[in-house]
């Protein structure tokens, strides 16, 4: 089948207007939220599972690579499509098919936006818990591919804990079901293997997610600390009390400055670090735990502890946290962040390493992160137009990833490996480990036609190809 025939066949399946193949239009499908870019051969916008299956079967027969794309907000290059590969995007598959209030589930298509689902089910007194900072733009399909996290995943777990079952199209177009429509499934947990497979196992076309009841009470604290060390101690103290807050976030002095440059989030300008802590639950429970949290903060040297008085104030505190990375633009034109994870008890040690690396390379590094689960986001701020700075930032990033691995942590908390971090996989996995992973992938996609060239090292060190003024990565976390 020729190239021309393949596109014609695909057009016959989805309709002419749902195949984007003009290069000028494809310029906007070259990128996602990461630094890399590559122009796909065409973008296909299917309307339903059957169309996805038929398009994938056609591509399979023609020997063509397929990459799924949600909203293109990913930070590790997951949706970047190889030259001449086919991209499948889901703007037309954005229906919430069913909300089951008794079983507390929702059946959705992959193009549904995370926040739209949450807003929709709130009307029924429920919520969808995973809340990546990109939640107003990112799609459920993309969330599944990357096993997306978010501040509230501390208490409720990442995406994988909220997906019950899926309808999936495999590389050759076969439609299979993973997991179940009930709460538990017998046998191997293939659903669990699929979530976080970064689009290499198959493409989910229907997703059954778990919903949670809305909490009776939400209380948000701002713990203000003179320095980052005491704030780290406070994190350990809170968790050490056996408290699992819904969210526990750290914002350092530099990040406070950046945020306050853009918007008044209510963070004091002279603080060394602040902790944003949210408790949720029954009224009595939250009242009781609140006392313990406040005590833990004061005991570890908090300069002040504030409680959000109303929804507007809570909203304000969170806006600061969720837009912090964008606000770094007020300090330097470019940034690059590392999504490393360390055991919570090693936070202080890791942050010392960050500050040592910052000094040695002469690169400003800001820290805003999910302290509760040890997921750091050291963010290097620089101007890529200065010669050599970009290389320095990359080398510093590599050192930080190595340190995470040394401390018993890992490379990525929630952004995925993708293109960006694949060469670092040997830091945390042996060849045998990675071979075992590849064998699992082969069980789903023996021909490796789905999103190839991601996750596993192949000797091509990550090298940005974007415009020099655009070397930035990782907006939000």
């Amino acid at each position: 089948m020729t190239d021309h025939d393949l596109l014609a066949s695909i057009r016959a399946v989805v309709g002419d207007e749902y195949v984007i193949a003009h290069r000028e239009d494809l310029l906007v499908y070259e990128y996602d939220g990461s630094v890399d870019r590559s122009m796909p051969r065409a973008v296909v916008l299917p309307a339903d599972t059957q169309q996805v299956s038929r398009v994938m079967a056609l591509a399979y027969d023609a020997g063509v690579t397929v990459v799924g794309r949600g909203s293109g907000t990913g930070l590790s290059g997951g949706a970047i499509t190889p030259p001449e590969g086919l991209q499948i995007a889901f703007p037309r598959m954005d229906r919430i098919l069913e909300v089951d209030t008794v079983n507390r589930t929702a059946l959705v298509e992959p193009g549904v936006i995370n926040l739209d689902l949450d807003n929709h089910v709130r009307g029924f007194g429920m919520r969808y818990a995973p809340d990546p900072s990109s939640q107003r733009a990112c799609s459920l399909g993309g969330n599944i591919a990357e096993n997306a996290g978010g501040p509230h995943c501390l208490a409720y777990g990442a995406t994988t804990n909220h997906v019950i079952g899926m309808e999936v199209v495999l590389e050759d177009g076969e439609i299979v079901h993973l997991g179940s429509m009930a709460r538990e499934a017998a046998g191997y947990d293939l659903r669990g293997a699929f979530v976080g497979s970064e689009g290499t196992f198959g493409i989910a076309t229907k997703i059954l997610v778990r919903l949670l009841p809305l909490p009776e009470t939400v209380r948000t604290f701002l713990g203000i600390f003179p320095d980052i060390d005491s704030a780290c101690t406070a994190v350990s103290a809170v968790i050490g009390h056996g408290i699992v807050p819904a969210a526990l976030e750290m914002i350092d002095a530099l990040s406070i400055k950046a945020v306050q440059n853009v918007t008044d989030a209510g963070y004091p300008n002279d603080a060394g670090a602040v902790l944003l802590i949210e408790l949720e639950g029954l009224n009595e429970e939250v009242d009781e735990v609140s006392g313990e949290v406040e005590a833990a903060l004061w005991d570890t040297g908090a300069a002040d502890v504030r409680v959000a008085e109303d929804d507007a104030e809570r909203e304000r505190l969170w806006v600061g946290r969720k837009t912090a990375f964008g606000a770094f633009g007020t300090i330097a034109p470019n940034y690059y962040l590392v999504d490393g994870v360390v055991p919570r008890t090693r936070l202080t040690q890791m942050l010392r390493k960050v500050s040592e690396v910052s000094e040695r390379y002469g690169i400003t590094i800001a820290n805003v992160f999910h302290a509760g689960d040890g997921n750091l986001h050291p963010c290097m701020l620089f101007d890529a137009r200065e010669p050599g700075v970009m290389e320095g930032a990359m080398a510093a990033a590599a050192e930080l990833m190595e340190e995470c691995a040394l401390l018993g942590g890992t490379l990525s908390g929630e952004h995925g490996i993708g293109l960006e971090k694949k060469e670092f996989m040997p830091l945390v996995y042996t060849d045998a480990d990675m071979e075992a992973m590849q064998r699992v992938r082969e069980a789903f996609a023996p021909e490796n036609r789905l999103n190839p060239g991601k996750i596993f090292p192949d000797g091509s060190y990550w090298r940005p190809s974007a415009h020099p003024a655009a070397y930035t990565a990782g907006m939000y976390v």
């Binding site: 290069r23 990550w462 415009h467």
Partner: protein, 466 residues
């Protein structure tokens, strides 16, 4: 331009990640269409590199963009439009009809700008991009016609505008319009004349003209405000202008309407006619300077937004830069001004159920959403109910509704649906374009709801005191 443009001619654009290209299309036929067959950006009004690369393509703007929400296509998103600008800037693509079509579908509502965590000045980028498109004569035919006939020939000239207004009023009020519509003669004419005619704004009974009037404050005088009369608003919505004057008087302001003022230039700027826009800005700066007012107040959100950006517009004009900054600093939207006074609350009840439609250039460009609600809440007995998506563009967007009729119509229906779902009897707005668009949408939907400017509602409450 950048130092080393990444000019690629075919499919082989390099990847950072060493992806195995062997899985690509086996026959490697060329893409459809080509890149680079048009002019690039050039000159002093080109989009600035530092503005372009503030965008880190995070995608947080997507869900705020009306055209993306309607199409879910990346080409019709703010991030996509900036990517196309970057491609031109980098020399990877030329300005072409196709790129222009994506840029022209943009409403310039600036909802993306308000939610952008990186502070990308999208409005400025789009205006400068359109200036480049205009310079290269690559505007769509529709926009080109409108630019020549209306933006350049009519808007800057108060006399011609008023004459056109008189003719339209005659047409609408003497029964000719009824005859024409009944005869369907327009459908025999070439082009979309019938559709254009149907969208013709309804002229007000009485125009409002700037003649140097000074309306004295009622009671103790607090300050002197200069009122922008504007271009089409005094013709279409003279009632709202008179209401604006009365509520300002009632709140202790001498209201001066300086002569020699004119259109604020917003529409010209949005279309990319920056030079004419600058000329119109200078004229207004001069007119209000002579009137010696404390603040300049406008009842049109679109005008306020442009006037507050005069400083940026004229920053390279040695003669006007300082005065333009001063003018911008002293400009207030009328709802912002009244809420900040603060206003005298009306003494009588107005038992209306009202919903607020946020004009884009108030909510997004000026970031004002609370002030109009404060004004409305100051009215005893008035019930304010919120509609869904209150700040999603209604599709008016200047003359967008004349050029992008399909998208405009879709957004209009969406807005009317959201507004009527509240059960409100009055939709409040603060921009002449939105008011006209909503009125027309409601006429089409046969919904028995009125659209009023916030100051008309406040004025009605003051009138009820008597």
């Amino acid at each position: 331009m950048v130092s080393a443009p990444d000019r690629h001619s075919d499919a082989g654009q390099h990847m950072g990640g060493g992806i195995d290209a062997g899985h690509g299309f086996p026959y490697g036929l060329p893409f459809e269409g080509s890149l680079n067959d048009g002019p690039g950006f050039a000159g002093s009004d080109a989009p600035a590199e530092e503005d372009l690369y503030r965008c880190v393509h995070c995608g947080l703007c997507l869900s705020a963009c009306p055209t993306y929400v309607e199409t879910r296509l990346e080409t019709e998103s703010p991030r996509g439009r900036i990517a196309l600008m970057k491609a031109v800037h980098e020399g990877r693509a030329g300005i072409s009809e196709r790129l222009v079509s994506h840029w022209e579908l943009c409403l310039q509502c600036r909802a993306c700008e308000a939610v952008c965590p990186s502070g990308v000045p999208y409005g400025r980028l789009m205006e400068h991009t359109r200036a480049q498109v205009q310079d290269n004569d690559l505007q769509s035919r529709e926009l080109g016609h409108l630019s020549r006939l209306f933006l350049r020939a009519a808007l800057p000239h108060n006399g011609r505008l008023r004459l056109a207004g008189h003719l339209m009023r005659l047409y609408q009020r003497t029964g000719v319009q009824r005859l024409v519509r009944k005869s369907r003669v327009l459908s025999l004419m070439p082009g979309d004349l019938a559709a254009m005619e149907a969208q013709m704004p309804v002229m007000g009974r009485e125009f409002f003209s700037p003649r140097g009037q000074v309306f004295p404050a009622a009671g103790e005088k607090r300050m002197t405000v200069g009122l922008l009369s504007g271009c089409v608003m005094p013709l279409m919505q003279g009632d709202a202008m008179r209401a604006a004057v009365r509520v300002l008087q009632r709140n202790g302001c001498d209201v001066a309407v300086p002569p020699a003022q004119g259109c604020c230039g917003a529409l010209n700027l949005h279309a990319g006619d920056l030079e004419l826009g600058r000329h119109m800005a200078r004229r207004n700066i001069d007119a209000f300077k002579r009137a010696q007012v404390d603040v300049v107040v406008t009842a049109s959100a679109g005008c306020g937004s442009s006037m507050k950006e005069y400083g940026d517009l004229l920053r390279d004009d040695p003669e006007y830069a300082e005065a333009a900054h001063e003018f911008a600093r002293n400009t207030r939207d009328i709802t912002e001004f009244l809420a900040g006074l603060p206003l005298h609350p009306p003494g009588a009840e107005l038992p209306w159920r009202v919903t607020m439609q946020d004009p884009c250039h108030l909510a997004h460009a000026q970031r004002i959403t609370e002030a109009p609600r404060q004004v409305l809440r100051s009215i005893p007995g008035l019930e304010l109910v919120e509609m869904a998506e209150s700040s999603l563009c209604c599709g008016s967007a200047g003359f967008y509704s004349l050029i992008q009729r399909d998208m405009s119509r879709r957004l209009q229906e969406r807005k009317v649906g959201n507004a009527t779902a509240t059960g409100a009897e009055v939709i409040a707005s603060a921009n002449p374009g939105c008011i006209g668009q909503l009125e027309q949408g409601l006429r089409d939907a046969s919904a028995g709801i009125r659209v009023m400017h916030v100051v008309e509602i406040l004025d009605a409450a003051y009138q009820a005191e008597r």
